[in-house]
Symmetry: C2
Subunit: 241 residues, 2 copies
DNA sequence: CGTTGCCTTGAGGTGCGTCAAGTAATGTGG
DNA sequence: CCACATTACTTGACGCACCTCAAGGCAACG
């Protein structure tokens, strides 16, 4: 039995699902595979006919730039449908990579289509989830354009803590976060050197510690205050109406 | 008769529509209104039950920041469905504002839902269009994180020229672009002062001139080269398969 | 004809990048 | 068990892209 518990928890955060819908979702995957750390699961541009559900591990959407630089447009945690947008886009504008060892479930697009026709409400629900991506991107483009490094890193820690808490992957403000300082820089548009200095500041202010692929939030209120963190862009509240 | 020609042109760029689908789309709007320049059509956070089609004019999605700064996450041109994502998100994480005088058509969400049930393919097609938003955001978060000001402004001019050409709003590399230099800065994460200097450079290099709410591209090849412009993120090709 | 909005330019400051060197932890093979 | 890579982290010195502050120009407008 494929363990979709985290995915279902995540979806249920906003939309209450009935038994038939849950059964339909459980039937989606046709294959489960483990990928090693730092592997590229999907390459930019290739036309694909299935989407990928992240059962466990951390992944990212990475853009490779012509000048050799690299940018991570989004991070993904257990339970995320990491490339549902390939259902409509057919090809991706970015790579999909693992950060640590990841368990992935693959869902053929034709099964999605069949499910959406049988359960039109699920189509709206999954459409919502791709809209969430866009909302997340909007948040980050704004943050990177307008906020400075300290605030950005603090914001990222706040966001990840919240997202991981939903799927039960935090403990007392601490969570695994298998990134290097270079990765953090690639997420936030900073050099590893500067990331290092900012992390030192966060440590000295006793707000958060990032070490050995793990984040310990020491002062959540202080960190949120520094980040001016408002989780509205994550749309965690139940659907209105 | 409401003029959806530009919208239909835009949709047809990727998906060929049949007569029934076109008729269904034409039936969507229940109201058309003109909004003056610099007006806020939708405010962040309000729960809404209709979406907005931009018939003519320029609009933007603007985020107001707690510190008084402002960021435009996306620009919209004639023919764009500017807040289709409110169909799934119910509230927006940003304001929707006009830049110049705009003609808008409003589409109640219940009509969208009825159309999507009658024409499931149209659901996928419009889902695609919200996925496009996300792809656009990914492009810009990467650009702002990794590229410098000159390159970013050049990229924006390239993107707008392409998007406006599709709906017939360019003439020989020139197009209306009713933004101030401050607006450009709000799009790209730059101060008006620096935008001004970069525009001067573009002028001096005889690549592009931005003046009086109008862009004249003098050397498209040179501008694209400077911007390292690759339009893949706009998904302008016809749908694969 | 003063006000207002936008553009322009200069002078000086700063957040972050670049370059460079060194440390620590882990792994590899002889 | 020890040389030697390799990878990630750390810190210092210095430079640059962009910001801030400030002043002035110009056109539109009541």
């Amino acid at each position: 039995m494929i363990d979709l518990a985290r995915h279902l928890t995540r979806v249920s955060q906003r939309h209450v699902l009935n038994a038939d819908e849950i059964a339909a979702i459980r039937d989606l995957p046709d294959e489960v595979r483990i990928f090693p750390p730092r592997s590229t699961v999907i390459r930019e541009g290739e036309v694909i006919d299935r989407s990928t559900l992240l059962l466990s591990g951390f992944m990212c959407r990475a853009k490779q730039l012509p000048n050799g630089k690299r940018h991570m447009a989004e991070l993904h945690v257990s339970g995320d449908f990491i490339d549902l947008h390939s259902y409509t886009l057919k090809r991706l504008d970015h790579d999909i990579e693992t950060l640590n060892s990841c368990q992935l479930a693959f869902v053929p697009h034709h099964r999605l289509q069949a499910m959406f026709e049988a359960f039109p409400r699920l189509a709206r629900i999954y459409w919502f989830h791709t809209s969430l991506d866009a909302a997340n991107h909007r948040h980050w483009v704004t943050s990177i354009a307008q906020a400075q490094a300290l605030e950005r890193i603090a914001t990222l820690f706040c966001e990840m803590a919240l997202r991981l808490e939903i799927v039960g992957l935090t403990r007392e403000g601490s969570f695994d976060f298998p990134l290097t300082q270079t990765d953090l820089g690639d997420c936030l548009g900073l050099t590893p050197v500067h990331v290092n200095r900012v992390l030192k500041t966060l440590r000295e202010r006793e707000l958060a510690v990032f070490r050995n692929g793990r984040v310990d939030i020491l002062d959540q209120a202080g960190l949120r205050d520094l980040a001016q963190f408002d989780p509205a862009y994550l749309y965690l509240e139940p659907e209105p109406l």
